[in-house]
């Protein structure tokens, strides 16, 4: 499918001791929610930090909204303000209260909508008592105020690093709703990029998936295209060996096997007693990660 890129990157490289993030081409589609999926330590946060300008020490070129490069992002307030970033770190000094946390956002961001912030906080059930210290909040509540902060700014691109992991299931659902609401705000103009290591929670909001493994992008496509490319196959124990040769990934139990198969190779399974089902995004991700992970690579 053709699409416009909210972010386009070329030759992004960042080296650490014993780790290298290397992304020859990167495209974040405009108007959609993109999930950056990978294990812990796969390089998700590093990539997000590079895109958001939290890190400046990388090689490669970036283009935002089709016309601005990364210098514009740092020097042009319009571009800087159009990108909302939420990381996993601790943004507030330890002695600050919730009230001061709110006020600092007003000072820092010209496009911050305070009434919206208060409304989102209410929706997310952030504690009412604004004299409470931010340090004393639970991880979940801490994430909520950070999300409220980034969502109440008028931005065109949201970059969220593991927004779902500290939240409980109810709040994850709320988060998904908020992302959809954000995407709808300016039909087709706003984009969201978030990272997650647990895609199941965010599956219903993900439009485009980028799967990262060990610093490399191993698969990227629209979710519906992925679901056409990969299908789930289930079968009896007797057919397992024959299926193993064809399937992309397979896991077996005492009663049978289940695996993910590339659609183009489905005809090779003809003659076996199998059931073919549509795959979920998490099944596809697990299969791809299994194939590419160092950990599983040994088997």
């Amino acid at each position: 499918m053709d699409f416009e890129s909210a972010v386009h990157g070329e030759g992004i490289v960042k080296k650490y001791k014993g780790f290298e993030l290397n992304v020859p081409v990167l495209d974040i589609p405009q108007g959609f929610a993109t999930a950056l999926i990978g294990e812990n330590g796969a390089g998700k946060s590093t990539l997000l930090d590079i895109l958001a300008g939290i890190r400046l020490d990388y090689q490669g070129s970036l283009k935002f909204f089709g016309k601005y490069n990364d210098d514009d992002r740092e020097n042009n307030p319009d571009v800087k303000n159009a990108i909302g970033y939420e990381g996993t770190g601790n943004y507030y000094l330890p002695m600050w209260t919730l009230k001061q946390g709110r006020e600092i956002q007003k000072l820092l961001f010209k496009n911050f909508d305070e009434s919206k912030y208060i409304e989102i906080c209410k929706q997310l059930a952030v504690p009412d008592d604004e004299s409470k210290k931010i340090t004393d909040l639970s991880d979940g509540n801490h994430m909520k105020i950070k999300l409220a902060g980034v969502l109440s700014r008028d931005t065109d691109l949201l970059i969220l690093d593991e927004p779902a992991s500290p939240l409980d299931p109810l709040m994850r659902d709320k988060l998904c709703d908020m992302i959809r609401e954000y995407l709808q705000r300016d039909e087709g103009k706003k984009s969201v990029l978030f990272s997650t290591h647990n895609i199941a929670d965010m599956e219903t909001v993900t439009d485009y998936a980028i799967i990262v493994e060990n610093g490399r992008i191993v698969e990227q496509a629209f979710v519906e295209d992925l679901k056409e490319k990969y299908v789930v196959v289930k079968g009896e124990k007797v057919d397992e060996e024959a299926a193993r040769k064809v399937l992309y990934s397979i896991s077996s139990s005492n009663y049978g096997f289940e695996g993910v198969c590339l659609s183009e190779r489905l005809n090779e399974l003809a003659g076996l007693n199998t059931v073919v089902e549509q795959a979920t995004l998490s099944q596809i991700c697990v299969a791809i990660m299994k194939q590419n992970s160092k950990l599983y690579g040994v088997n």
Partner: protein
């Protein structure tokens, strides 16, 4: 509109089916717009790309047309064209039936008899 996550039918298919029925049965009239893609995604709690795919499906079938910057508008439903489309579907299904009959080794008459039998069954 009822969307089932577990029915086995892809969600985009379910959405397309629902709108198709609305259009063919006249509940959505010519010139009316389908709900906005992201608005519908939000209401149904599904992803944008799924909604988009079902709209594109309807567009391919000629039921709607994409209007730049405005969304998808319902087309005038030409009787002949509709019939032609349905004809294509019928042919597709029958081709599949013929294929299966070949594998099963059915003769031409046997196949026709089966079809007749099924038709009488359905009518009753």
């Amino acid at each position: 509109m009822i969307i089932s996550q577990t029915s086995g039918v892809p969600i985009y298919q379910q959405i397309a089916d629902s709108f198709r029925a609305d259009i063919l049965e006249g509940r959505l009239k010519e010139g009316e717009y389908l709900p906005s893609i992201r608005g519908l995604a939000r209401d149904l709690k599904i992803s944008v790309i799924t909604t988009m795919k079902s709209y594109e499906m309807l567009e391919q079938e000629g039921l709607v047309t994409a209007v730049q910057g405005k969304g998808y508008v319902v087309n005038a439903q030409d009787g002949n064209m509709l019939k032609e489309q349905h004809m294509r579907k019928v042919e597709e299904g029958l081709m599949q039936a013929i294929g299966s009959a070949r594998i099963a080794g059915l003769s031409e008459n046997e196949l026709i008899d089966t079809l007749k039998m099924l038709l009488t069954l359905k009518e009753n």
